[in-house]
């Protein structure tokens, strides 16, 4: 299968979330007064940062078929005036010869980059940073309202093996690399805005270079951890009717009883699938950024979305534009993952007595296990009894 199509198929589901917002069309404009050229309304819409239908000039690039004889004006240019040629450059509709060949070097003007820069420096940092601060504040409030979730009746004192060494290795490979990726990603995204004013450009430069190196290279450990945890745990994370019961009971967080669960409860399954789906998406966009211009995905993705939803997302993207979409998507998905993982870290450490042991040394208190994963304990004990009696 074509790798671009594969990437497009993998990204399409998550990208659907944003398709409606991007599908706004500019209203048709009457340009008879200017002979088809720009009108005052176009200028006003642009000043108000509204979408303007640029086709009146982006597609007005001259017609060689209408070339005048070489004895007439414009004849040697084959029916293309200077203005037509500059419009071609402006809208990337030329096929120029360049001295340094490369996938992006033939694009002379790429003004979509301005929109990317504004989006990256504005809403992505603002909303992404707010989401991180918001989840931390919520967890602090939750901690003071609910308190630490304790083992009812206290620990049993005996333990049961919750995760084998290979499972914990896969988890920590994924977790350690994700934390490194999150921190270095935030330094890369926000350092210019927040760190340079504090530590200065001279101190930030080596930090930024080191962050870039670590981010680019530890990504492979993240992808390996993602594959390992998927293979080891996917069978235990298939949703079933029990999960609905667990969700209806709110996981037992605000009630006295504990809803039944097997090895993973519904909350853990939500985290698992969030990490897997978003992990694949962030890895694909990351690979696209890691190998610039080699793995364009968004034009194909938008094509699939357009064919399914009838939207008109752009499918004729410049190489730079592909990278810009990958960059923005990478940041958005990473922020969503960070929010989910911060909540996961809370409940797996300070939020619940006995939870960290599962990934700490692999042995959890038997009473903790019975309260949170009663059916799993029963399965393990049944296997042990069978093994002991045979």
């Amino acid at each position: 299968m074509n790798k671009n199509l594969f990437g497009a198929a993998a990204l399409v589901l998550a990208t659907l979330l944003f398709s409606l917002a991007w599908a706004q069309e500019a209203p048709p404009a009457d340009r008879t007064a200017t002979g088809g050229a720009q009108t005052l309304e176009d200028i006003m819409r642009r000043q108000e940062q509204l979408k303007v239908d640029e086709s009146f000039r982006s597609e007005n690039l001259g017609n060689p078929a209408n070339a005048a004889p070489i004895t007439d004006q414009l004849g040697t240019r084959g029916g293309v005036s200077d203005a037509d040629a500059w419009r071609s450059i402006r809208y990337n509709k030329i096929d120029p010869t360049v001295q340094s060949p490369g996938p992006a070097n033939t694009v002379m003007i790429q003004d979509e980059g301005v929109a990317w820069y504004k989006l990256r420096e504005g809403p992505v940092i603002t909303y992404g940073g707010s989401a991180l601060l918001g989840i931390i504040v919520l967890l602090v409030i939750f901690y003071f309202v609910r308190g630490r979730i304790m083992i009812d009746g206290g620990p049993a004192g005996t333990t049961i093996e919750r995760f084998k060494a290979i499972e914990r290795f896969g988890h920590w490979l994924l977790a350690g690399s994700f934390i490194a990726l999150g921190l270095t990603g935030l330094i890369t995204l926000m350092g210019r805005s927040f760190l340079i004013p504090v530590i200065g450009a001279d101190a930030f430069a080596p930090l930024a270079a080191g962050s870039k190196w670590l981010h680019n290279n530890i990504a492979w450990a993240f992808m390996l951890g993602l594959v390992m945890t998927f293979v080891m745990w996917v069978a235990h994370n298939i949703p079933n009717k029990l999960d609905w019961q667990w969700i209806k009971a709110g996981g037992g967080i605000f009630t006295k009883g504990h809803p039944s669960a097997k090895k993973f409860n519904a909350g853990q399954k939500i985290i698992f699938w969030t990490v897997m789906i978003l992990g694949v998406s962030v890895s694909l966009s990351g690979l696209s950024l890691l190998f610039p211009f080699q793995m364009p995905m968004f034009a194909d993705t938008f094509g699939v979305i357009n064919s399914v939803l009838g939207t008109s997302l752009p499918t004729d993207l410049a190489p730079h534009e592909e990278m810009q979409y990958a960059n923005i998507w990478h940041s958005i998905v990473a922020f969503v993952m960070m929010v989910a993982i911060i909540a996961h870290i809370y409940i797996g450490s300070v939020g619940m007595e006995g939870a960290f042991d599962a990934m700490g040394n692999g042995q959890v208190d038997l009473e903790w296990a019975r309260q949170h994963h009663d059916l799993w304990v029963a399965e393990v004990e049944a296997k042990q009894d069978k093994g002991g009696s045979s």
Partner: protein, 41 residues
């Protein structure tokens, strides 16, 4: 905790080896950014 530390070390080892492995497969960011076929006509 030993498993956790060894996984963190493994992540750093993978990070250190990945540029070398990528070079072996003929891809490096330094090569990507330059071209041998620059024309000066």
């Amino acid at each position: 905790m030993k498993v956790m530390i060894s996984a963190f070390v493994a992540a750093l080892v993978i990070a250190s080896l990945s540029p070398i492995v990528l070079n072996q497969f003929g891809w490096s960011s330094a090569e990507q950014a330059r071209s041998e076929s620059v024309r000066l006509d």
